[in-house]
Each structure stands twice: as structure tokens, then as C-alpha cells.
Assembly symmetry: C2
Homo-oligomer: 448 residues x 2
């Protein structure tokens, strides 16, 4: 997949936000090699089992057959642990908290732009701690960072929770996830955070001397969000006219379309356009003017709707005379979303636009929450689950059945456990599959 | 090579600066796949000849032998042109100006950290234009962006110029370069910008219809700076005590070392330290406090000297009483670089520190310029060149000899033409090798 500039700009917005949060929470960026000796991958048994079917292997380098095949990283736990083992000796070296922005490769046969691609971009955090409790706290902290990002920046009301054993990352003790409902009501796993326990530290001998001079294996986490999230944003908020981007991550928040008919109207209109553009730019608003004469205003209206730009400003000769602009909101189609005669005066216009951007951001999130909630069905029997899934909805119900039962549900309905959500209903529960007591409800859905 | 956090932070500083400049000059970031079908690489004859000895090849994917080998990108001209051919139809689609931040792989047998590594990080710009003149202007503009960056941010007085035909990029008509003199007086090619002419557009059929409805091949450029530049910074400014980082790109500009002996001194010192830290941080200075009790102040002094932090502040009990700090400059060793009794008052301290950072930045550049200029010898015979190179210096002299002569110099002295500098002496010149008239002087040096 080629990521073109507009899509890449959304990824940059994701990076800019998360990079700050990662640093605030004590992580440093660094970079590991992408070629991993095959023997590293084999060291953690469940890891190699999970990843070996989807590896790309370099077998020739500099014109020669290599003695050991190199894996193009599908994820970096193994090479990270290889280095952590060298760097960590004492409790003084802990916690070690790093992140890298990188490309990864997983050999996918059925690809879908942004959602499932052979190569994708992501960040992967890797941390090592002195205790299980610290590692668990870190894993939870990072899924929380992702959850806040999804709600506040991407306006995606993800459901955070814990993966079932069947769906846990190859090599992790626990996987936390944020699950998002797309416009077609399929679930998208939009980010994960793993408590790796001591699985990799045992496989790689990553040990430290604790304060009592005892040698222990470190406790670890890893966590990632990828360019898949860009696909999640597109498929959460889009409509038939195209994308609908949340202002906080929109590469263009406001597009200005100048309108003139006669030649002598142009200079006055363009002067006003340029002045409004500077006003908004100085106020920190991401604004673009499309003054191309190759396209009509009508063509531009459609184009920027398709691109999901939150706000469009039109400025024509009459607006110049009245010192006002026309505003259209992408999230409210047609006349309802239009405002006429909004003053061009910087002291009024900036606040007005900023206010509208905040409203649009909130309104996209509210719409997505309402959509999500109206498409989750509480079920108390397998029959009810089948019905809900057949209707394309998500099913939520008490679950304490076996891995085999979970696989049976998958086989019969194509739905999997997306997560045991952190937010759980109170009171005693009975597993809808077995009738046995259940501690938690699980959410089942078809997914990407 | 693993890039650890401190080195990576220097790379991030390079990215932050260049990213802004690239966008200001009209480029958008995007991302191309890193696996390139082998047949793409073969399309441009000199390109495949230049790169085929250093390719890494993926031959197995998802457990199966691939029908066509995939090249792990050594550079992206071929896949970029494959896509440009789809995107460009008309002069309205031009200029097309993009950049990507990515990893690249070149199978190197003799590696050196940052300078020559099997995998490295870089940015690669790729542009397509309607005319040769536009492409030439773009290639020159970007080498100029690199030159300014080197001087103003990295304090490296690079010499910009044109590569000889022998040293031109495989597939380019012209390669512009910035050449830096390292502390050991070897040359480092620190960035390049290529005028690709129509070489790739002819190989890939990248055509457009011009304003007169004629079909033409596009004119192209590409340009890159890599993590090698981090090595350049280290090897330009370091001394026996370690690194010496220019303030503009130093991850830590000021380190504060608290000093106390008795237990009851600690709280007053730490209160002052914390207040100074906040003052500097709010002023936009990158400041770090090292309050670890596991290390002595003396150990910390050495450590941050080694790390090349431009300014160290010491704050002890007497400083707290006097409401002052002790300042040490990394670029002036010993007592000369120390200032006592500088007021802690924010209104004084911030300006004082900012002033010192500007001075250090300028002083590192001046020192590097003096070093460079005292190590370039003007030569008027091959004997003089041999002598200069044998002394480890750079030789500059008029050159209009053949490619064969250039290769002979390389074989006999290990020196190559680093560039024909843009800045040329006036007046008639005679080639120091052949005695024939020469239009330009060339700079010869041993290089990394």
C-alpha cells in the first residue's frame, strides 16, 4: 500500500499526539534493526507459532545466500529482548521504557487498505520492570492513553477491555485492547497493550539483580497502534459523500473557496480570502485556500466534502461588501449546516470557527456513541447471540465457557470475543453458553 | 545498529527542523512500500548496476518461495516512478513534490556506527517537474536547505558542490553534495540532491501532456539526508572528553546537578533546583535535572561532558543562600568556561543562559570553520596533491582531467573528488594533472 499525502497527514496527527503522551509517561524513542535472525524468533515458543505463517524472509544479501535467514520484523519483542539482556543488570536499570516508530511486515493474503496490509507503519512500546505489578500498571496505563486518544482526538468511542485467552497476543500473558465499531458494524481492534509477564525475559535470559542481590527475570510489556487506525477513522465517521474527519486530527480543518464571476471581482475577493486565511492560520487553525481556476466552486464543494474537511468557508463579492463569510459544516449536510453573514472581523471569526470545530468534534463522538450503543445487544443465550450477530450487531453477554466453545462460536457465527470490557455490569451472572456462573460479560462481534 | 534514545533524539531534532523546511518549500510527506519487485530495479540500467551488489532480497513470504524476488529498498526512485506514472497525466499534475521518512537497506560489509550501516534511517525527497530548468532549480534549492541546516543547526561548515561524473548517483545526471570535514580530517558526504533528468521517467514511461498537448517525459529530482548525519555531528565537534553538541540540536541543552552534603541541605537545594528547572523549561530550554543519589556530582560532571551537554548548572547550599548558580560551558574546558554567582532570578538567568547557548552555537561553528580552512591545501601539481593527502589534508586544485585520471588518483592516494565546490576562485586555471585549461577547482580527500 502507498500512503498518499492526505492519509499520511492523518497518521502524522496521530504521531504528534501520541509522541507527546509517550514522552510525558516516561518513554524514550529509539530504533532497532528490522532484520531479526530467525533463531531469535524461535526462542519464545508461542511467539514463533503465532508469527511464523506470516513472515517475510531475507535469504540473499550482497549477492550471497545468507547462512541464517533474516526475518523482516513482524514485531520487535525478540530483538528488543536480545538488547535488553545486554543493557539490564541491576534494579537501577529499571524500569526501561522505550518506543519506536517503524514499519513492520506481515505476509497477508487478503489485504484491505489501511486495515490489513502486508507492510504497515506503527509505534511499538517495549518496557521492562522489576515487578509484575509495575508491568501490569504500565500495560493498563498505555491502553488508557490509547482510549483517551481514540475518544478525544479521533472521536471513536472504543471499548477498552481484556482479550480472551484465544485472542491473546502470541507471547503475552494478557492482552488489553480497544475495540471500535466501524460504520458497517464490524469490529476493529484499534490498539493493543500486552502484559508479557516473564515469557520473553525467560526465553532471552533478561535478568537483573534486585535490591536484595537476588537475580530475577524482568517483567515486560509491549503496546502498539498502527496505520490501521487511519482506516478506523475513515470507517467510523464517513458517509456516502465521503470522509468526515474529526477536527482534532483533520489535516485541513477549514477550507476556503473563493467565488467570483467577473474578472474585476477577483482581486477584492482574493484580498479578503487571503486576509481571512492569515487570521485563521495565526490562530493555529489548519486552513487551506483552494484558488485553482481549473475547477468550479461546485466541484470544490464536493471535493472537500469527500475529503472530510470539517468546515468550508465561501467568500464571494457580496460577502466582501458585507465583510462576512458563509460557513458550511461537513457533519450537518445541506442548509441546516450553513451559516450566512458571519463577520470577517478576526476578533469574532476566530472564536466562532474555534467554537464550531469544538462542536463538530463533540458531535462526531456523540453520533458514534449513539450508533455503537444502538448496535450492541445484551444476550442471555447462544440463540440470542446468533440472532444479534446475524443482524450484524455486537452481542454482549456473560461468558465463562471454554476455549473450545469460543472457537465453536467463531466457526458457527464468524464472531469472536472482541474483549471482556473493563466496564462490567454489577450482580451475579450466568454464562449464556453453559449456564455456569460467570464473572464477566464478553463482547462478541464479527471483525476486520 | 541499534539507535539508543540519546542518539535518536539528535535524529528527531534533525527531523523536526527539516520537516518544517520541506513543507515550507511545498513538499508533502507520504509513504511507499519498502519491498520493490526486482524487475523495477532492473529498468534503469545504471541504477541496477550501482545498487545490485548491495541488495537484500526477500525470497520467501508467508512460507512460500516467491515467484519474483523482492528488493528491500536501498532507495525508492523505482517504486516512486512506478506510482508517478499512474498519478501524472497532465501538466496540471506537476510539479509533484513529495518526501518520505523511512528505513533503507544496503548490504555493507564494513560497517561503522551511524556512518555506514546495513540499515539506516533517512528522508528521501522525490519530485517531478515539467521542465529541466524547474528540476535543476529544485535540486539546487534542496542542497541549499541542507547547507543551511548544516551551518545553522549542526554547526558543520559543509562545502556544497557538484559531484564528478565518477561519483554521481547511479541514475542521476547531476549530483549535488554537502561535504563535511570530520575531526580526523576525513570527508563525510553528509547529504545529496540529484537532478535525475529524464532517466527514470524514460525507464518507467512517466509522461505528461504539456500545455500545447504534447506528450513529454517528466524531469525529476531526488535528495536525501540520513542518520549518517548524526555521526557527522559527533565526529565534527567531539573531543577527548566525549561529544560536544551544538545547542540547536542538543537533546539536553542544560543539565542541572544538585550538590549537597548533609541531609538537611537537601530540601533547600532541591527546591531551588526545581524552581530553576521550571524557569528554564517555561522559557523553552531543554533542561534535565540529574538528582540521582546513586552517583556523585563529580561522576555526573564527567558523564554529561561525555554526552556533550552544552551547559551544566551546579546548585549547592551556598548558591541557594546567594540566590545564584554556577555555570560551566562544555566548549570551554576548565576554569575559563566557569561562571560563578550568576543570579537565579528568572528575568536574569533565562536571558543569560539563552545568550550563552547562542555563543556556544556560534563558537562551535567558528572552531569548525577554522579547523576546516587550516586543513585545505591549494595544489597546482599532482605532487602537491599527493603531499597534502599524505598529510591527511584536503587538496583543492583545478581539474579537467579524465575519469581514468580521477580513478588513478583514487588508486594511488585513496583520495576521491569530493566535489567541485559552488564557490570557485576567479581567473584562468590550469588542470594540475594535465596542464590543460580547467574551468573549475575540485576538492580531493579521503572519505568515509
Amino acid at each position: 500500500m502507498v500512503i498518499r499525502p492526505y492519509g499520511y497527514a492523518i497518521w502524522e496527527a496521530i504521531q504528534d499526539y501520541l509522541n507527546v503522551k509517550f514522552k510525558e509517561t516516561g518513554h524514550s524513542n529509539m530504533y532497532f534493526p528490522q532484520f531479526i535472525p530467525y533463531s531469535f524468533i524461535e526462542k519464545e515458543a508461542s511467539h514463533v507459532e503465532g508469527f511464523s505463517p506470516e513472515l517475510a524472509l531475507v535469504t540473499i544479501g550482497g549477492g550471497k545466500e545468507l547462512e541464517e535467514k533474516l526475518v523482516v520484523r513482524p514485531t520487535s519483542e525478540t530483538i528488543v529482548n536480545h538488547m535488553f539482556t545486554k543493557w539490564i543488570q541491576s534494579y537501577r536499570d529499571l524500569p526501561l521504557m522505550i518506543n519506536q516508530w517503524a514499519n513492520v511486515t506481515r505476509w497477508e493474503m487478503r489485504t484491505k487498505p489501511f486495515i490489513r496490509t502486508l507492510e504497515f507503519l506503527w509505534q511499538e512500546g517495549h518496557t521492562a520492570h522489576a515487578t509484575l505489578e509495575e508491568a501490569e500498571k504500565e500495560a493498563m496505563q498505555m491502553i488508557d492513553v490509547y482510549t483517551k486518544f481514540a475518544y478525544e482526538q479521533a472521536a471513536i468511542p472504543v471499548i477498552p477491555g481484556r482479550k480472551s485467552r484465544v485472542e491473546t497476543f502470541a507471547g503475552a500473558n494478557r492482552t488489553y485492547t480497544i475495540e471500535a465499531m466501524m460504520g458497517d458494524r464490524k469490529a476493529l481492534q484499534a490498539g493493543t497493550s500486552h502484559n508479557l509477564g516473564q515469557n520473553f525475559s525467560r526465553a532471552f535470559g533478561t535478568q537483573f539483580m534486585d535490591e536484595n542481590s537476588q537475580i530475577e527475570h524482568v517483567w515486560q510489556t509491549s503496546w502498539a497502534i498502527s496505520t490501521r487506525f487511519v482506516g478506523g477513522i475513515i470507517m467510523t465517521h464517513g458517509d456516502d459523500a465521503g470522509l468526515m474527519l474529526p477536527p482534532n486530527i483533520a489535516p485541513i480543518q477549514v477550507v476556503i473557496v473563493p467565488i467570483w464571476k467577473k474578472g474585476d471581482e477577483k482581486s477584492a475577493v482574493m484580498e479578503a480570502v487571503s486576509s481571512v486565511q492569515n487570521t485563521l492560520k495565526e490562530a493555529g487553525i489548519r486552513v487551506k485556500v483552494d484558488d485553482s481556476e481549473l475547477r468550479t466552486p461546485g466541484w470544490k464543494f464536493n471535493f472537500y466534502e469527500m475529503k472530510g474537511v470539517p468546515i468550508r468557508l465561501e467568500i464571494g463579492p457580496r460577502d466582501v461588501t458585507n465583510k462576512s463569510v458563509v460557513i458550511s459544516r461537513r457533519d450537518i449536510p445541506g442548509k441546516q449546516g450553513k451559516e450566512f453573514g458571519v463577520s470577517m472581523d478576526p476578533s469574532i471569526l476566530v472564536d466562532h470557527i474555534k467554537g464550531r470545530l469544538v462542536e463538530i468534534q463533540a458531535s462526531l463522538l456523540q453520533k458514534a456513541i449513539a450508533f455503537r450503543d444502538s448496535n450492541i445487544v445484551d444476550v442471555s443465550s447462544y440463540g440470542e447471540l446468533k440472532e444479534a450477530i446475524a443482524e450484524g450487531k455486537w452481542a454482549r453477554g456473560p461468558w465463562s465457557a471454554s476455549d473450545a466453545d469460543e472457537l465453536k462460536v467463531k466457526e458457527e457465527t464468524s464472531a469472536t470475543i472482541r474483549c471482556f470490557p473493563f466496564e462490567q455490569p454489577e450482580g451475579a451472572k450466568k454464562c449464556f453458553m453453559t449456564g455456569n456462573p460467570a464473572e464477566e460479560v464478553a463482547i462478541f462481534a464479527k471483525s476486520y
